[in-house]
């Protein structure tokens, strides 16, 4: 099997429950944030993004919350499904200058049937 995510923090959630995945970012100059989902054997997939002029953004079953005061980002997944099982990464970047992305360490989400 794939070795990506073997040593990452793991969150186990019962199917149907809500999941909350947290991320602390490091660069005060970052003003654009993205959550990615990486399934086994695949590249990271864009889920949802948020600009620093917002503190909450909702998508389909997902919500991203941004707390700039404590440099914290969270991803909430409603009614977690088996297909949500994956490794989730947050990424931060300033939208000026280098546009260089900094990726968080990742969290493995396991959905229990």
């Amino acid at each position: 099997g794939e070795s990506v995510g073997l040593h990452l923090p793991t969150l186990s959630v019962q199917e149907g429950d809500n999941s909350i995945i947290n991320c602390a970012y490091s660069n005060s100059a970052s003003d654009y944030f993205i959550w990615y989902k990486q399934e086994s054997g695949k590249g990271p997939q864009f889920i949802i993004d948020i600009r620093s002029n917002m503190d909450k953004r909702q998508g389909q079953r997902v919500t991203v919350l941004l707390n700039k005061t404590v440099k914290h980002l969270s991803l909430q997944i409603a009614a977690t499904q088996p297909g949500d099982s994956a490794v989730y990464f947050c990424a931060e970047t300033p939208t000026s200058g280098t546009y260089k992305y900094i990726f968080g360490t990742g969290t493995r989400l396991k959905v229990l049937a």
Binding site: H7, L8, I34, K42
Partner: protein, 114 residues
Amino acid sequence: SAVISQKPSRDICQRGTSLTIQCQVDSQVTMMFWYRQQPGQSLTLIATANQGSEATYESGFVIDKFPISRPNLTFSTLTVSNLSPEDSSIYLCSSRRGRYNEQFFGPGTRLTVL
């Protein structure tokens, strides 16, 4: 979103050889990026490849080890040279598109060095 393909999807190589990974984007993009993802870890940027100029390498990565080509606005290659087992990783190509330069990734190339 951008559609990005990579070849090969995986390979097993002998120590001391080289592997060239190809990345194709479905439309013209200015910037393409190469990342390494070592087992159990997050993504680390190797270099940024702009068409018509030399790639810009991140700290810890050098052109002799990771030569990159960017012959046009839809294609790039990354070569991992003089392979050692420490090079065993997933190598990911990406590009940006959209209002806020959202970054999209290819499926990755899984390299195992024996």
